[in-house]
């Protein structure tokens, strides 16, 4: 894991002091709420329906046990003893008091954490693959370049007042778990024939009210040029992005309006100039310095076959179910990747109590090199676990209700906070997700259905990523009544696609039955080996439409 040096420490500490001053000015009345707003938004503090909400950055989704214990502590001390992990790999606290936030930030700084650029119209916390360093076929650990970008983008003087927020995601494997094509900039790490590292650049992806899949504008940007290329792209956006309409101000609209070809041309012209100055050329020595922090942990040499694991699977069906859903192959023989579901049946997706965070921190310390990942699907992950320890890991997680065996299955849903918390929402999303998970609680049925992502957003801003759910649900408000619009066939991986609207919206009473009808239709027409998305791509929307609206 990356560790702060004196420069990183100093900057974060200075930020705490700056924000302490800003909060003091607000509390004394020197700043009005209006004047305070842009300042708090630069530091992840939102004003929600009931209280302030604080968003804590988890850079590229990696946490140490020490950091997770601190988050547990903070949630206990300054909040109601739980936190919410988000689709951007961050942690949100829903009830902190404004006057406590400076002290809270100081505690975060003590474990090398912060809330910098988790909101506001700036370059947001960089996100990445939660299997980084553990996945087979990885070109390079994506956290190396993510950390380089984190530093370059922190308090960037030119890009702190962009037209709109700006999100960058990085993937180091061909199979994209970081959803890079639905980000403002997506970076795919590549290796050329000469064995050199370079980057494919996708620009202008995004969800919200105008969902777009990113366009490729860079085929192979050399490592030393990456920051110059990013600076050029951001400069084009900062100068030409629309500022007249909040809903047309993301880079995806600029790319859409001028075309990907023109965007590529503008970026390349600017890049040539920035590169010529040389100031942003990335020195090898800095790359190597950061790379060293992400060196593989001290893996033991083990055989991949693990008889004690096989025996435990044979003897304990509950454990077997969990292994089937939660455990994934690791590149190192004898090791496995463990996904921890934060989607217990009938509970809000992504929530974890302080006690649960402590348990995960302990398990990670004992069995996973003290390292935890946050997945954009709002789950946690232990990336490096010995296969022979899996049974013990499962027992510890299960005792803390952290072993729901549903990762990747229909009840492993993404949902935004919705109308229960958010002042932008038109409809509830958590309660819909809860009811869907209750409907499909039967594990045998879930495994029969197979991999199926249901994403729910409580409004058009799409924080629940409904456009890229295999089944997407969007809450809308029609004359004070909550309705739910359904899309099918979305995907966020390397085959990224925006889902198709299936037809008229459903009422709150109808929506769970509608999902049930969609699933039953799929089960009736799927071919051997297909998951829902495969079937949908083969047959299209019509068979689903027919069943859904037949009775209407």
């Amino acid at each position: 894991m990356y560790r702060y040096d004196e420069f990183d420490h100093r900057l974060v500490t200075e930020r705490v002091e700056q924000f302490r001053g800003q909060v003091a000015r607000r509390l004394s009345g020197e700043l009005s709420e209006d004047e305070f707003k842009p300042l708090r938004l630069m530091n992840g503090v939102y004003l929600q329906l009931h209280a302030y909400m604080l968003r804590i950055a988890v850079p590229y989704g990696t946490l140490s046990s020490r950091q997770l214990r601190k988050l547990a502590d903070i949630a206990r001390k300054y909040d109601k003893g739980y936190g919410h992990f988000t689709t951007r790999q961050n942690l949100q606290l829903n009830w902190p008091a404004l006057q406590d936030i400076p002290a809270l930030l100081e505690e975060l700084a003590s474990v090398e954490m912060h809330c910098i650029q988790t909101s506001g119209n700036c370059i947001r916390n960089v996100t990445s693959d939660h299997y980084a360093g553990a996945a087979a076929g990885e070109v390079e650990d994506p956290r190396i370049v993510s950390e380089i970008i984190r530093q370059w983008s922190t308090f960037h003087p030119e890009f702190s007042f962009l037209p709109r927020k700006f999100k960058i995601a990085v993937s180091g494997t061909e199979h994209d778990r970081a959803a890079i094509k639905v980000h403002d900039i997506g970076i795919q790490i590549l290796k050329n024939a000469a064995g050199e590292i370079g980057y494919e650049i996708w620009v202008g992806g995004g969800l919200g009210r105008t969902p777009m899949i990113g366009k490729k504008i860079g085929d192979f940007i050399r490592r030393e040029d990456l920051l110059a290329y990013l600076e050029a792209t951001l400069r084009v956006y900062n100068m030409q992005g629309r500022r007249d309409n909040l809903y047309k101000s993301r880079i995806k609209i600029l790319v859409h309006e001028i075309g990907a070809g023109e965007m590529k041309k503008l970026v390349e012209e600017e890049f040539a100039e920035v590169k010529a100055r040389g100031a942003l050329q990335l020195p090898d020595i800095e790359v190597e310095r950061i790379k060293a922090y992400f060196a593989a942990p001290a893996f033991e040499t083990l055989p991949d076959a693990t008889p004690e694991l096989d025996a435990a699977i044979a003897r304990d069906p509950k454990f077997a179910d969990w292994v089937k859903a939660s455990v994934t192959a690791h590149k190192q023989p004898g090791y496995a990747i463990v996904n921890i579901s934060l989607k217990p049946i009938g509970k809000p997706p992504g929530d974890a109590t302080s006690d649960q965070m402590d348990v995960v921190a302990d398990v990670a310390e004992k069995y996973a090199f003290s390292e935890i990942r946050v997945a954009h699907e709002q789950n946690l992950c232990l990336a490096n676990v010995r296969k022979k320890d899996l049974y013990e890991v499962w027992k510890a997680l299960d005792a803390a209700e952290l072993a729901t065996p549903n990762v990747g299955l229909i009840t492993d849903q993404i949902a935004c906070p919705g109308l229960d918390y958010c002042n932008l929402a038109n409809a509830r999303s958590i309660s819909i997700a809860e009811r869907i998970s209750e409907r499909f609680a039967d594990l045998k049925l879930q495994h029969d259905i197979g991999r199926l992502h249901i994403n729910t957003s409580g409004c058009i801003n799409a924080c629940g990523h409904h456009h890229v759910g295999h089944i997407g649900i969007l809450g809308v408000d029609k004359k004070g009544v909550e309705y739910y619009q359904v899309t099918l066939g979305g995907a966020a991986d390397e085959t990224a696609a925006v889902g198709d609207i299936v037809g008229p919206a459903f009422t709150e009473g109808e929506i769970v039955d509608a999902v049930d009808t969609i699933v039953k239709t799929y089960l009736g027409i799927r071919k051997e080996g297909e998951i829902f998305l495969d079937t949908y791509r083969r047959v299209g929307v019509e068979p689903f439409k027919e069943k859904l609206y037949a009775a209407h």
Partner: protein
């Protein structure tokens, strides 16, 4: 309104002149449109000339005129509109402009640090801004992560020098 020039509160010798106002004595700042129309009249006065660019008027419009301009004023129509940060960097880095680059409009205390880093040497600020507030704002962060127009040595370069065993004096690190 007060003027901060190179970190000092100074009297402003310049007059902003609206497009429909007659030109007063002394140095004036006019709009880009007026500069285009009345270039000859303005040059004949033989007093320094400043041109103000609105958000959307990119510096390349005046790239060939910069040798005749003592001030380029960049307008912030709202603090949220950050286009002029890029404009200032282009003036300094692309067009090598050595005259005054002035921030006008919605210029708030929490922007000073970013403005100075992007090459603004003159800021028109509200009357409640004191030298203490200015010093606090621009002194918030000791070492920046990224290179910019101000020439401050970025952390990456400091690390390299430290790693290379060069003597980076403690007070040099702290002062910058």
């Amino acid at each position: 309104m007060q003027l901060i020039k190179n970190g000092k509160f100074v009297a402003d010798e310049w007059t902003h002149v609206a497009d429909d106002e007659p030109l007063p004595e002394g140095p004036v700042i006019v709009s880009y449109q007026r500069w285009l129309k009345e270039q000859n009249v303005l040059l004949a006065r033989e007093t320094p000339i400043g041109v103000q660019l609105k958000s959307g008027e990119e510096p390349k419009l005046i790239a060939d005129h910069l040798d005749r301009l003592a001030v380029v004023a960049l307008e912030f129509p709202a603090y949220r509109n950050g286009r002029a940060y890029s404009y200032a960097r282009l003036l300094r880095e692309r067009y090598d402009y050595k005259g005054e680059v002035r921030a006008v409009g919605a210029v708030l205390r929490d922007q000073f640090y970013f403005l100075v880093r992007c090459g603004f040497d003159a800021l028109e600020v509200r009357d409640n801004i004191t030298p203490e507030i200015f010093a606090e704002s621009i002194g918030t962060f000791t070492h920046p992560y990224q290179p910019s127009t101000d020439g401050a040595e970025p952390v990456m370069s400091l690390r390299q020098r430290l790693a290379a065993g060069a003597t980076v004096r403690k007070n040099e690190l702290a002062d910058r």
